[in-house]
Symmetry: C2
Subunit: 510 residues, 2 copies
């Protein structure tokens, strides 16, 4: 454990030797005239998390953070000045046709000790971190009826099945009134299909359909039309619908209730990492700690998914060298190109990210955000790339292509089969998922203090020297095992606060 | 009232003198060899709602229903044969550059009697059909916290405010991780803005934001940052968030509870009409009855919105002549063109509609579906066209451009300010909206019998001769006044089953 820093002392964080910028650590920012121990004097007030120039930077010269160019000076910036967003001209994104490939593939050494967790073993060999009755839906039309039924099931049945954690209606806005044969429709469809088979549902399948929808419910059930599907149009009215849904749920609750947790190796885990509400600390506290934990997980044989195409795009030149094979590298490029095209079809571009909150947190542009974002992936080789909503199929570090939108990324990572998500936040979001636990990691002490009953782990202490990246990395790793085992609950699960499923549907609504 | 038909007698419905097709009325369909009173003999089994050829139709010849060409014969069709979907070659859609304009503008005569309903008068002059606390959100991130708070408000506060009908969290999947400046982002944004000011919320505004989202909450509040907005990032943790939301709700519940219903003219009403889960009866029973009711409403001075671009596109040549002015006609064409382009960008086309259920119900293609769909609009002149999510601004019949997706159309019509929706269904859907009541009208007797506790009005009796279109039209009109007055509850409201808000977002997720 590092020595606790005295926060009366002005502090900045410089990440890389080559950087000509650093971020202000002190809460509330630092005033004009403040002098750092190195002799640097601020020429103006700079808010917390915002960048100070460590040297004079002339018009057009590189602004460097993380050892990478995050932009060019719009006008001369004096040493000690605040590098505001407007002073940073965004560089063009890396050219996807001239990236170096598989030139920086790290060797993964197994951990000295074997780590385990207490999971639910499924008949297909996978494991679960929760024991949930998941009720899938083929179309939004059934949502109202299913919500009514689930309320009844939770009130009247669930208390009799103490080994079952929850009953969840997987409602969504897809299923009809959509161009179901359009090329990109494959994304929402496979997301719904894979959600229906989430490992936390213990192999119990239950699908509520309407009967005339475009997404026929059999497509969620391997093409089979069996007892796992109930179509409302076959029922004799509402009361009958509710009775049938409750009866169907009861059978499955009985099966789920017989399950017990057992010791499982960490290699059974699929862990998603994501950031949301990022600030300039994200890339120096929480995300590097998550990256350290990701490396531990990969060393222990687990699968780790990182995502968020728009926050990877500008740092892609740092990722293709880490692709385990040329094929994986090409798959990374394929997903970047798909997204470039998707954004251009919608007349949007990458400057749509970061958000206003990101900017208030000190992030000038998506290049800086990306550099801070990809450190969540640690240093392991990238062994596979998943198109949005595809199921994870390899152990190790995997890029799961998703939008950066927190709730859309969460939904897609769930479809890819994550058992748990680690979510870093600088500005603060009460984000949660109903299907898998979310461990929330704050980038700043102040956020953890303010949101003491929402933030699970505080990585802010890295900035103040109270802990190292390794310390917090191990803390995250150990927390994952406890939460996965059900011996510890995340704050979101304690309160029962969860975001809605938000599908990624890039194809037309009709 | 017409004489009740004996359903032992084989029946078909021919809509227009020029038609060479008719649909089979009898439940279960009719067998080969069955002879109708006119002498027509079926050459094969034909299911209920499906089309029979009334004459020999040679390859390439017109197949005519509603007096319009719904397709061309793929191969020779014999008189008495089943005109299956595969036999119908779809015609090209009407050319948008050569439509006749304002050539068929009906004159609207006021009704002899003045009709009223009991509504809640709002301070801006509008009226409401419910008295609801609507809590808006600027981003999905806050949904879990708000759902928790709303549960508490409904359990602990609402019983003390008996004049308030409901407390609704307007949660949605927008607000961050989106290309907020892309051209089409205007659609979801104005939808959320207009939903926040729905007339059933009595002028009470309450907005829950996060603090770092792209859709800043002030945009839902006329740009103002006042006591109507609560940002979770300003709160000290979860418990504090819930306390603040509950306190904010309590103030507004007190105001709403002081309101009483009063007599309002029908001209205060904005009524949406929509169809979902259509079948071949939709165009001859429920939709014409709704069209009759729409004419009554317009004659009484109300606003009626009809929608569903993809189900209007192929019948647009019947609508531009009804445009009250050239400007309205051009606006109709503008919305059709926008949608043509939107579908082509997504590599989809209009053949994506109808759904499998529509087809099982006898609808061959979107041309036939459209002809049956637009009759919901009645015969009045079209006085205005709304782009998706725009607020209604004129009395009379208005085309509100929306996708045909039931839940997306419902959400957009709510944004346009409907007080109540009339929804026709042939296959059956338990559809409902939380903000405004939905009166569900069945197209077939069998559906009403099967879903006796979900269908509010049965228009199927038109097919069997038990009632006329006028009878059911008046029944719908009177039901609208009762439901709008709160003296009658729709089935969906009785059970409390409602669909989620489903935004139309044609712009990219980032």
């Amino acid at each position: 454990m590092a020595i606790k820093a005295n926060l009366e002392i002005p502090l900045f964080i410089k990440v890389n030797q080559a950087d000509n910028t650093a971020i202000i650590v002190n809460a509330g920012g630092l005033k004009e005239g403040i002098e750092f121990s190195c002799g640097l004097i601020l020429t103006e007030f700079i808010p917390q998390g915002h960048k100070v120039a460590l040297a004079d930077i002339d018009t057009g010269e590189d602004i460097v953070r993380y050892g990478e160019v995050i932009g060019y000076a719009q006008s001369p910036i004096k040493k000690g000045a605040w590098i505001r967003e407007a002073l940073v001209v965004m560089p063009t994104p890396p050219n996807l046709d001239s990236l170096s490939m598989s030139t920086n593939v790290a060797i993964v050494s197994p951990l000295e000790k074997e780590y385990t967790f207490l999971g639910y073993r499924n008949s297909d060999g996978s494991a679960g971190t929760k024991n949930i009755l998941g009720i899938s839906t083929s179309v939004q039309c059934v949502a109202g009826v299913l919500d009514f039924a689930v309320k009844k099931i939770k009130q009247e049945l669930l208390p009799s099945f103490p080994n079952v954690d929850d009953v969840i209606a997987l409602t969504h806005n897809y299923g009809c009134g959509v161009a179901i044969n359009a090329p990109d429709a494959v994304i929402p469809i496979r997301t719904i299909q894979n959600l229906a088979k989430h490992p936390n549902f213990g192999g119990e399948v239950m699908i509520i359909g309407l009967g005339c929808e475009k997404l026929v419910p059999q497509r969620l059930n391997d093409g089979k039309d069996d007892g796992n599907i109930l179509s409302l149009q076959d029922e004799n009215g509402f009361v009958n619908m509710i009775q049938s849904i409750v009866a169907m749920a009861k059978e499955r609750l009985q099966n789920l209730n017989e399950r017990q947790r057992e010791v499982c190796p960490v290699s059974d885990l699929v862990i998603g990492v994501q950031c949301g509400g990022s600030d300039a600390f994200s890339g120096v506290t929480a995300n590097p700690a998550v990256g350290y934990a990701a490396d531990l997980l990969v060393s222990a044989g687990a699968t780790v998914l990182f995502s968020e195409v728009t926050e990877v795009r500008d740092a892609i030149h740092l990722l293709t060298p880490r692709a385990a094979t040329e094929e994986v590298g090409q798959a990374l490029i394929r997903e970047m190109k798909w997204y470039d095209d998707y954004l251009s079809r919608g007349e949007a571009d990458r400057s749509a990210n970061p958000s206003p909150g990101n900017k208030r947190g000190g992030l000038s542009n998506v290049v800086e955000k990306s550099l801070g974002s990809i450190v969540k992936s640690g240093t392991s080789p990238i062994v596979d790339v998943l198109a949005p909503g595809e199921k994870a199929r390899k152990k190790g570090l995997v890029f799961a292509a998703t939008p950066a939108s927190d709730f859309v990324c969460g939904t897609l990572q769930l479809a890819s089969g994550i058992h748990l998500q680690v979510f870093t936040t600088g500005r603060g979001t009460p984000y949660g998922l109903s299907i898998a636990p979310v461990i929330k990691v704050s980038t700043r002490n102040a956020l953890q203090e303010q949101w003491h009953d929402l933030i699970d782990i505080n990585a802010g202490k890295i900035a103040t020297g109270e802990a190292t990246i390794e310390d917090v990395g191990w803390e995250i790793f150990n927390d994952i095992l406890e939460v996965a085992s059900g011996t510890k609950k995340t704050w979101a699960d304690k309160w029962g606060i969860h975001n809605d499923l938000a599908l990624f549907n890039p194809s037309p609504v009709t």
